[in-house]
């Protein structure tokens, strides 16, 4: 592969990604998922818990747990320096150079994803030292500027995670993830654990950073309200499969698939005009026979 940017390719392209359990390879947890992410654009993956949206994100990073395997498909990452790479074929060493530096991730729980015995400044600095070799004063300055960028006073660099509020911890996570100016940011439900006001701030911050750094963003959520605020493109997943994808205007404005419609309908509206409608799975399966093909998946999804 040539070491130059392939103009024809988007930043990230997933091709027919299928994830199975190692012990029972016939049980498809994620089935034939394909979508693309452009630089400077946000793609939202929407679905309920158990729909495979987090697994899809983890497979991009090569972070699937040992019980799982990516049984087929390609994850093509178009890097400006490395050229076009299939992330599924890379060895651990090359993947490590990409993680954190080129592709970064923000996790859902800001409480559990930070190390409680290290200062936040140290944790932000880790990837800077590893990937860029920054040390001493230059490292300190960079950490300070990153903290300021996400709206935390730089004097807090010596604080431990438990001394910060939930919103501040998530900001620290964001500072960590953008430290090396990655080209792709994966955010796995970054605001689900946060208050509405803090959520609005974090979404605004992510949107600004995306534009300023021309990052591609893969944003995972189950909340269509968040999708409406932040997405350019939307991918809707149901039981391991993509049921609908398109631009935000297409998917939200004119949903085609019954599952998308049902998922949109169960979001409570702030005006209280529409009655609440939980998803009727029996009706869905009856009307969409293609979805009932994977009976092994149905058990865990229905609450």
């Amino acid at each position: 592969m040539k070491a130059e940017t392939h103009k024809a390719f988007p930043l990230l392209q997933l091709e027919n990604v299928t994830i199975t359990l190692k012990k029972s390879p016939t049980r498809l947890l994620v089935k034939d998922v394909s979508f693309t992410i452009e630089a400077g654009k946000t793609t939202c993956v929407v679905g309920e818990s158990g729909s495979g949206k987090s697994l899809t994100a983890l497979s991009v990073m090569g972070l699937l747990s040992k019980q799982l395997q990516l049984s087929s498909g390609r994850v093509l990452f178009n890097d400006s320096q490395l050229g076009l790479k299939d992330l599924t074929t890379l060895d651990a060493e090359s993947l490590r150079k990409i993680r954190g530096a080129k592709i970064a991730m923000i996790f859902q729980e800001p409480m559990t994803s930070l190390n409680p015995v290290l200062t936040v400044g140290y944790q932000i600095g880790e990837s800077l030292t590893t990937h860029l070799g920054l040390k001493g004063e230059r490292l300190k300055t960079k950490i300070s500027s990153l903290l300021e960028l996400v709206g935390i006073p730089s004097s807090r660099a010596n604080s431990y995670p438990d001394e910060l509020s939930g919103g501040q911890r998530q900001r620290v996570m964001i500072a960590m993830s953008i430290a090396c100016e990655p080209q792709l940011l994966i955010a796995d439900e970054p605001t689900t654990a946060l208050d509405v006001t803090v959520q609005a701030q974090i979404l605004k911050l992510l949107d600004e950073l995306k534009t300023r750094m021309n990052m591609g963003m893969l944003f995972i959520t189950h909340d269509f309200g968040v999708v409406a605020d932040i997405a350019d493109n939307v991918v809707v997943m149901f039981r391991g499969e993509i049921v609908e994808s398109g631009t935000k205007e297409q998917v939200l404005g004119n949903p085609q698939h019954p599952y998308t419609k049902a998922l949109l309908a169960c979001v409570p509206d702030a005006e209280g005009k529409n009655p609440l409608r939980p998803i009727d799975y029996a009706w869905l399966l009856e009307n969409q026979p293609s979805l009932s093909k994977a009976p092994s998946l149905t058990a865990g999804v229905i609450a």
């Binding site: 309920e48 509020s165 509405v196 409406a228 998922l263 949109l264 609450a303």
Partner: protein, 273 residues
């Protein structure tokens, strides 16, 4: 005007926080600063605010799970703050709570039948056969089955666990249920199911809810009245319709503006699902 089931007057609760070097100094945090609320019988009063605004402290102080510094809580004419021991326990039969985290609030070593039936045993309601019947009826009502009695909490999904939590609270046929963010840990689709279940049960059992939430979209659907709290103080209260249409206080306006999904109006879409 319907009669009020719960009246709280001038509640004050102060926490002491260690501060300064080695925590030698102390600062006082006013979690509740002169808070007064009224809950009408059979209605739902929502308490909204950011984390740290004192809404959970309010819930705990109302149920006397935490002592108050001052103020009175009148439930059916009795001041709960003055009751102690057995008298308070007897009143608690009518005051139940549904907790936020469906994973942490169920004892992992108890079977669902024991969890739901524990209140009946404590309050000595009927003999064991009757208790059994009540537990089964309640489980069925919240959408679980008789066979689920023998299972442990880990065998259930988040939505199902929250149903167990609701069954546990309602099996004693309480008058007032405090719901502390009962749906914030759940997916949107499950959220809608649980909210509808709570509404149905309210109509059937003539329940009054004190509903604590930071999600104003959820509150709009379940509450009749609303109290907005910020830093231990009530900044605004009134009927849900009025507050959503004409928020007076700046803080309420900010909360309403922070609701995600403002850019595209989801409510306009016609849905046939």
């Amino acid at each position: 005007m319907t009669e009020s089931i719960l009246v709280a007057r001038n509640l004050v609760k102060t926490y002491t926080q260690r501060s300064g070097k080695f925590g030698f100094g102390t600062t006082l945090v006013k979690a509740l600063d002169n808070v007064s609320i009224t809950l009408r019988a059979g209605s739902t009063l929502a308490v909204v605010g950011e984390s740290g605004s004192g809404k959970s402290t309010l819930a705990r102080c109302l149920l006397q799970l935490q002592p108050l510094d001052s103020g009175e809580v009148l439930f059916a004419g009795e001041d709960l703050a003055k009751l102690n021991g057995p008298a308070l326990r007897a009143v608690r039969k009518n005051l139940q709570m549904v907790f936020q985290d469906p994973f942490a609030s169920l004892n992992p070593r108890m079977r669902v039948g024991e969890i739901v039936g524990e209140g009946l045993v404590i309050h000595d309601v009927g003999n064991s056969a009757e208790q059994q019947q009540k537990v089964i009826a309640m489980l069925k009502r919240v959408g679980l089955t008789e066979a689920d009695m023998q299972k442990y909490p880990h065998e259930f999904s988040g939505g199902q666990r929250q149903r167990i939590g609701i069954a546990r609270a309602l099996v004693l046929q309480p008058k007032l249920v405090v719901c502390d963010e009962p749906v914030s840990a759940l997916d949107v689709s499950i959220q809608a199911q649980i909210l509808l279940l709570l509404k149905e049960l309210q109509a059937e059992m003539a329940l009054s809810y004190l509903f604590i939430s930071h999600d104003l979209r959820v509150v709009r659907h379940i509450a009749d009245d609303i109290v907005v709290m910020n830093q231990g103080k009530i900044v605004e209260q009134g009927a849900v319709v009025d507050i959503y249409q004409r928020p007076q206080h700046e803080y309420t306006q900010n909360l309403l503006a922070a609701i995600p999904g403002k850019k595209i109006d989801l409510s306009k879409k016609t849905v046939n699902a």
